[in-house]
């Protein structure tokens, strides 16, 4: 396993799977393996909206671990656990049993995948991954809330203040 990224390739190997992506429980897009016509921004919005849908269902008393959306030609299938959620975009003739098993395996590998994502520099490419189009891509941090304010540690702040006074 290449840091858990190949679980998406495993999902992709199921017939009639168009693509897949992974998000954390809050709906933050982490990694995706999708055709180029599905932009990263659209996937980011979709992951966030899926998390909202899950939260609203949980308010109705449903302990959601699976979500299916029928979008005319495509279907979006999401499996989730306490670590995050794995989503697959499929077309109707897909074998639901094969897809379900592939998503279970992906969910089981999800903690390792997320653990490998954390120390990485955003946007860095794993040299072990082969070159090509259909390679799982890391999602950049969310920019929908604008730039994050810089935070200065207290020690550095006091040091800077003393430098200024001199």
């Amino acid at each position: 396993m290449n840091q858990g990224f190949d679980v998406l390739q495993l999902v992709q190997d199921v017939d009639w799977v168009v693509g897949s992506f992974v998000a954390d429980t809050s709906g933050e897009l982490l990694v995706y393996l999708m055709p180029p016509e599905f932009g990263e921004e659209a996937l980011r919005r979709t992951a966030s909206r899926l998390a909202s849908i899950v939260r609203s269902a949980e308010l109705c008393g449903v302990e959601v671990d699976q979500c299916d959306l029928s979008l005319s030609r495509y279907q979006l299938v999401m499996n989730r656990n306490a670590t995050g959620m794995v989503c697959a975009v499929v077309e109707a003739p897909v074998s639901r049993r094969a897809l379900s098993m592939a998503l279970r395996i992906a969910l089981a590998e999800l903690p390792r995948l997320i653990a490998n994502l954390e120390p990485e520099v955003p946007g860095a490419r794993d040299p072990a991954l082969p070159l090509g189009i259909d390679v799982p891509r890391l999602a950049l941090p969310a920019e929908r809330f604008g730039p994050v304010a810089s935070v200065t540690p207290p020690e550095s702040a006091s040091l800077a203040r003393s430098n200024v006074s001199r």
Binding site: E37, F38, A42, R45, T46, R49, L50, S52, I53, V54, S56, A57, L59, C60, G61, V62, E63, V64, D65, Q66, C67, D68, L69, S70, L71, S72, R73, Y74, L76, V89, A92, R104
Partner: protein, 401 residues
């Protein structure tokens, strides 16, 4: 309810806080009145904690919903509900889901009509035959025999008998010649009296003529044969062409009823299947923290979900595209309606992001419970919350199973 709606303002029982009149009557009375009206009228129907709507346009029911039922089932359930509360509906369906004409509607409002709706009756044995010494007691118009034949015909068990010219033949092979002649004469007179009938009225006229003739012919034949042969004579219920033809209903009803019976049997079959826990089925290894515990894992229990299913009645709501609550059943329906509107909006946005405008159905499941949000056939939003097993047929209907 206004005076123009039912023509009897004296029957108005009370008024809602916003001034709308509420009437308590049977839906059958409403149907009888509105089937003769050319106006477009919609009513909200409430009874026994279940509510719904029924809409008329030029005497036809174009849409109905009642609790979790929609379409013809909803009409039947309304007719069964007895006295209901009626008030003028403030909405109108965006597109019709039914085309029930006045003839069919009025036949459904008959007091006996709802009896044959629920199930498909199997053929039953005919009543005991009387002795040949009393031929007048074995007339084919025996009440019990006619009832059984009618139920068979409506349920679809009896085959259709169609003649070479597209009309119903009445073959009584064992009938003597005088009876056949009488039948042919009456048949010809029936054709000359009604030269070009069409639709349901044509079938009804042919049926009534054929019934009269076949009964006459069969009674003569049976009595004569009983006298001549001296054995037990058959009754009219054994004569398949006459019985099926006599009670053949319009072609809309059997199809709908068969579908309902099929969907119910599927639900029952799935519910009775033993449910094995997922961990057992997939042979998931037990974590080390749990391996040391003295308590062994519980064996798979069949019907493990059944008590939960029984304890959780399905909540169903139907809301308009703008969020108005059209129908609701079950507890926490308000919260479900809010969630359904929210989920439906988000699902449409996801569909738009994927380049797919149109219907977006959503199914969320977990712990044996499901929440389904789907676009109904009249572009309303329908949502159901309950045990997954109970929603199987709905999920299959919207293509999510």
């Amino acid at each position: 309810m206004t005076k123009s709606a039912l023509g009897d303002a004296a029957l108005v029982n009370r008024q809602t806080p916003d001034g709308r009149a509420v009437l308590r009557r049977e839906v059958a009375d409403l149907v009888r009145h509105c089937s003769g009206s050319e106006a477009r009228q919609g009513f909200r129907v409430s009874a026994h904690g279940v509510s719904g709507h029924i809409f008329f346009d030029r005497g036809r029911v174009i849409h109905a919903e009642f609790g979790e039922d929609c379409g013809l089932r909803a009409v039947v359930e309304m007719l069964r509900a007895g006295p209901v509360q009626l008030e003028r509906a403030s909405t109108w369906p965006s597109q019709p889901s039914l085309h029930l004409g006045p003839e069919l509607l009025l036949s459904m409002t008959a007091r006996d009509a709802s009896r044959v709706v629920r199930k498909v009756d199997l053929p039953v044995e005919p009543p005991p035959l009387p002795e040949p010494e009393a031929p007048e007691l074995i007339a084919p118009s025996h009440a019990e025999a006619a009832r059984v034949a009618g139920k068979r015909a409506i349920s679809g068990v009896m085959p259709r008998w169609v003649g070479p010219g597209g009309e119903a033949p009445v073959e009584v092979p064992w009938a003597p010649a005088p009876a056949l002649e009488a039948r042919q004469e009456a048949d010809a007179s029936a054709r000359t009296e009604a030269p070009a009938p069409s639709g349901t009225s044509a079938i009804a006229s042919r049926c009534s003529a054929a019934v009269a003739v076949s009964r006459l012919a069969a009674s003569v034949a049976v009595s004569e044969r009983a006298k001549a042969v001296g054995r037990r004579a058959p009754t009219a219920s054994i004569d398949p062409p006459a019985a099926a033809l006599a009670q053949r209903p319009p072609s809309e009803l059997p199809i709908t009823r068969a579908q309902k019976a099929r969907s119910r049997s599927i639900t029952i079959a799935r519910a009775s299947r033993p449910i094995v826990p997922i961990a057992t089925a997939l042979e998931v290894p037990v974590p080390e923290s749990q391996q040391g515990s003295a308590k062994p894992p519980a064996p798979p229990r069949p019907m493990a979900v059944a008590p939960r299913t029984a304890a959780q009645p399905t909540t169903m709501v139907r809301i308009a595209a703008r969020g108005d609550l059209l129908a609701a059943r079950g507890k926490n329906s308000e919260r479900l309606a809010e969630a359904a509107a929210f989920i439906h909006g988000l699902a449409n946005l996801i569909a738009a992001d994927f380049g797919r405008q149109g219907r977006a159905n959503v199914h969320l499941s977990g712990g044996g419970t499901s929440l389904l949000v789907a676009r109904s056939e009249v572009n309303d939003i329908a949502a159901a919350l309950g045990a997954t097993e109970r929603l199987t047929s709905l999920l299959a209907k919207v293509g999510l199973k």
